[in-house]
């Protein structure tokens, strides 16, 4: 099913975050936070986001089918899109005023202006830019990231600027446009600068379906959504009446909630109990104290999926599931979910835990059965991060 009805003239939106990637070459690991972009420029960083967006546009033009009218490009003024369009010799319509210094607010404003009028929104930036856009766009607008930032954890990016052009061309040029939901992740930059990788799930967006997306080595045989549905069906069969289940963040755990008819937060931690007449939601977006109360009152399990390509299981983006909560639940009642694609991506590397309690991390270490589908398990090692 096409996700959006096609119009007579295709409209392609483009947002370039001019300061994305500035921090990388000068060792700042990102430009999130006040004053970081200026600091990067002072250190001699060269803006590169516009050049990468231009590469994507050039590849889009090359890959566009002969004889078919190319999409109309609507983009930000100046460095926020127009300069990339000029560099790629692509006719365009620029929105807004040209600015010398831009902020996340400019990205969000432009996203608001484009959201209702384009068939596909391309953006050049990093995880921070993806977060800003994710706050604005709804499920209806297909989005694709041109990797230009320092941190690229999110699966909404193409593997390279050229690949973004290829994916965009393939998507827009066909009549049956199909999209897939992908997670938007970001690292805590303060922690990252101190050498800690702390991915956190911020939300999700819909991206064109197909190869060349970041963090995906290949499409899973039945597609991610089908794989998640298969996992959900398996877990449903394992639920025990009277037991309480804590659900970690992510689209995989949310697929289980959907199957059970529960409305789960994507990035928060929720909990439900299996009662005689079916599962009942106990809490949404729980804090650590809530979880402690929940696990104190009876048998409970944690249903969790690794976040980000590094395979973090605990201690990244799910801190409310604290060492105390994990201890009460017990290792044997931790249910780990991962699609076959995610398991393959680990390529034998371990899942990582960093709960803040080194003794617990050591206790959690060792092999665990990961549920990867209906009647499917993978034996994966857990290690202290």
């Amino acid at each position: 099913m096409p996700d959006r009805p096609s119009q007579d003239v295709l409209r392609l939106g483009l947002i370039v975050n001019p300061i994305a990637g500035l921090g990388g070459r000068v060792g700042l690991k990102g430009t999130d936070g006040a004053g970081m972009a200026e600091r990067a420029l002072d250190l001699g960083a060269e803006p590169r986001a516009a050049a990468r967006a231009a590469t994507a546009l050039r590849r889009l033009a090359e890959a566009w089918p002969a004889g078919q009218a190319p999409p109309m490009l609507i983009c930000g003024a100046g460095e926020m899109g127009a300069s990339a369009a000029v560099a790629a010799s692509w006719p365009h319509e620029a929105l807004g005023e040209r600015r010398t210094r831009t902020t996340a607010d400019d990205t969000r404003r432009l996203a608001v202006a484009l959201a209702e009028s384009v068939d596909l929104l391309l953006f050049a930036g990093g995880d921070g830019t993806a977060r800003d856009i994710c706050e604005i766009v709804t499920d209806h607008l297909p989005v694709l990231g041109i990797p230009a930032g320092v941190k690229i954890q999110s699966a909404v990016f193409a593997t390279s600027p050229g690949a973004a052009g290829e994916v965009a061309a393939r998507y827009l040029a066909t009549s049956a446009r199909r999209t897939v939901e992908r997670e938007v992740l970001d690292l805590d930059e303060e922690a990252y600068r101190a050498g800690h990788v702390r991915p956190r799930l911020h939300g999700s967006m819909r991206v064109p379906r197909g190869p060349r997306l970041q963090s995906r080595k290949s499409p899973a045989p039945a597609g991610d959504a089908a794989a998640m549905a298969s996992i959900a069906a398996e877990v449903e069969g394992l639920l025990e009446p009277g037991r309480r289940y804590i659900l970690g963040p992510g689209t995989t755990t949310r697929a289980l909630a959907l199957r059970l008819g529960l409305e789960k937060t994507l990035v928060g931690i929720d909990a439900f109990e299996v009662e005689a007449d079916g599962p009942r939601l106990l809490i949404r977006d729980a804090a650590e104290a809530d979880l402690r109360d929940i696990v104190r009152d009876g048998p409970s399990s944690i249903v969790i999926t690794p976040i980000g390509g590094q395979g973090f299981l605990f201690g990244r983006g799910n801190q409310p599931i604290s060492p105390e909560v994990i201890r009460v639940v017990g290792r044997e009642s931790i249910i780990v979910l991962a699609t076959p694609g995610k398991v393959a991506e680990l390529a034998g590397r371990p899942l990582l835990v960093d709960t803040g309690d080194e003794t617990l991390d050591r206790e959690l270490a060792g092999h665990i059965r990961v549920i990867s589908g209906r009647g499917e398990r993978a034996i994966v090692r857990i290690e202290s991060a």
Binding site: P211, A344, G348, G366
Partner: protein, 536 residues
């Protein structure tokens, strides 16, 4: 040797120049013209009709169709032209160097074996003939079973499965019957396999209702680890289904320990010998302690692949599992051969009749033409070819062979183009398409990819050093072109049957269509769909 005359017209370039036929050929149902016929059957003569009536009336009412079958209506020449054109639009072992089909590479099937299988004395046999009239083919089956017992070390072999995967299914069925005979069928509901084993192991066991536990490769050695196996086995373990060497070409030298750990837990060990080509005449399932094994007769014993005609598999078992073999078995009583249907504990039939008899004849002829020493030479040549090829291939820019660095491989290697993809933004689907432009075939890996940007090569014993060098020259030409002129590679194929295909449809159950009927149902616009379209 170069003859003076050949020299006079100059050497041919390497890789060779190639252009695939391109016919824009519709599928056969789209050729259909109402009323067209390939054969016009003459009307029955009045005299005959008067004496015996209409032949259709002689058929029982229950087998007569009410409506004609939904077949394309075509003249003979159009049918011939259609299939000849399709054959020109494919690649295969008879027209190109087919080592790029790694893990599924076809070795050369000697044409003389084909003549035996097509001999009237085989081709005209009917499976309902009395066994006294088919002693010859029963004798071949009996002898082929003995040969495969010798090759595997197993006590009995069944030739009934019609493919490699059907053989795995047969083994899984026997595993279930074995545990059932001990009252443990309910309790033992898990089957263990590995990430780089033949994926049919997981697929067949899952289809049979088992929960599949997959061991992941060690990031350095590429092998599954004993620790992971120990974490996987329990009183619920029905069996280990494992390939060795795995599809990486890496041999698991702890395989006897794997078998021991599974036996200790009360499970059975089943050796998937899809990759037997590298160990033929060198290592046997029996000596490693396996209870069951299977061969793909098409991969190892030179018969056609399942997709190119009926396939054939063979399962070998130890004495304890013999009662569960599919029925019937071929037995010898003195100088006579007979079919034994009196097998009360058998899992029953996995294929009508006795399996694919023509393929059994081909495999028998192939084994007998080589003899014991020849079989070992097959494995040695296949391994030598593979390691020669690996040495040449690893000299190509942007290409690597993950895992087990510095070790030799058995009969295939799973390579990675990640280096080239990172350098040039040219990916394996581009490379695959560009290899088609050279007349080469390219296969990646089973999904989902564990090795990034994968390519699997398996040269078998059939290909000469010249063939391997030619294939390396193709790969090298594509790699160098990716660095120098990436757009040409990305926009490939340029000289092939069709241009780029969006294969993302293949992973979408809403879109894929494996039959014409499914295609009509899922993709027809109302105008194209016929109103009397049959329901699935």
């Amino acid at each position: 040797m170069t003859t003076p005359r050949a020299h006079a017209i100059g050497p041919k370039p390497s890789p060779c120049r190639f252009h695939q036929a391109r016919w824009d050929e519709p599928i056969i149902f789209e050729h259909s013209v109402p009323g067209a016929r390939g054969v016009l059957i003459p009307e029955l003569e009045d005299g005959i009709r008067e004496r015996v009536g209409s032949p259709a009336d002689a058929l029982p009412a229950g087998v007569r169709r009410v409506t004609p079958p939904a077949l394309p209506e075509m003249a003979q020449v159009n049918v011939l032209r259609h299939y000849t054109r399709l054959s020109q639009e494919t690649l295969g072992v008879d027209v190109n160097i087919d080592v790029g089909q790694g893990t599924c590479t076809m070795k050369y099937s000697p044409k003389i074996n084909e003549s035996f299988a097509r001999d009237q004395r085989i081709a005209d046999l009917h499976p309902l003939q009395d066994e006294s009239t088919v002693q010859g083919v029963l004798e071949i089956m009996w002898h082929l079973e003995r040969l495969l017992c010798e090759i595997s070390g197993m006590d009995r072999v069944t030739l009934q499965p019609p493919s490699g995967s059907a053989a795995i299914w047969t083994n899984v069925s026997m595993i279930r019957a074995y545990h059932a005979s001990r009252g443990e069928a309910e309790q033992r509901d898990e089957v263990i396999t590995t990430a780089f084993s033949h994926p049919s192991n997981a697929a067949c066991a899952r289809t049979a209702g088992y929960t599949i536990i997959t061991l992941q490769p060690d990031p350095v050695s590429g092998r599954p680890t004993l620790d992971a196996l120990k974490a996987a086995v329990s009183e619920r373990t029905a069996a280990l289904l494992i390939t060795n060497p795995e599809d990486t070409g890496i041999y698991n030298d702890e395989i006897d320990e794997f078998v021991r750990v599974v036996h200790e837990a009360g499970g059975l060990a089943c050796y998937d010998q899809a990759n037997a080509n590298g160990v033929l005449g060198i290592a046997r399932a029996r000596e490693a302690g396996f209870d069951l094994c299977h061969f793909n007769l098409h991969k190892t014993f030179s018969t056609p692949h399942g997709c190119g005609g009926p396939g054939a598999g063979a399962c070998g078992v130890t004495e304890a599992l013999v009662p569960f073999l599919p029925s019937p078995t071929v037995e010898r009583d003195g100088g006579r051969f007979r079919l034994d249907h009196d097998r009360p504990r058998s899992i029953g039939k996995v294929q009508p009749w006795y399996g694919s008899a023509p393929n059994q004849v081909r495999a028998y002829a192939w084994i007998m033409s080589l003899g014991a020493e020849g079989l070992r030479q097959v494995a040695e040549t296949a391994v030598l070819n593979n390691n020669y090829l690996m040495r040449q291939v690893l000299a190509i820019r942007g290409l690597s062979a993950p895992y087990a660095q510095g070790e030799r491989r058995i009969e295939q290697v799973r390579y990675s183009w990640k280096g080239l993809a990172d350098d040039t933004d040219v990916h394996i689907d581009h490379i695959a398409a560009r290899m088609n432009d050279h007349g080469g075939h390219f296969w990646s890996s089973h999904h989902p990819f564990v090795v990034p940007e994968p390519m699997t090569l398996e040269p078998t014993e059939s290909y000469s050093m010249h063939d391997l060098d030619e294939h390396v020259a193709m790969l090298n030409a594509v790699a160098e072109e990716a660095y120098a002129d990436p757009d040409t590679v990305r926009s490939a194929p340029h000289r092939s049957t069709i241009h780029q295909v969006d294969d993302s449809w293949l992973d979408d159950p809403e879109q894929w269509a494996v039959t014409w009927r499914a295609y009509l149902r899922k993709h027809s616009t109302p105008m194209e769909a016929s109103s009397d379209e049959p329901a699935d």
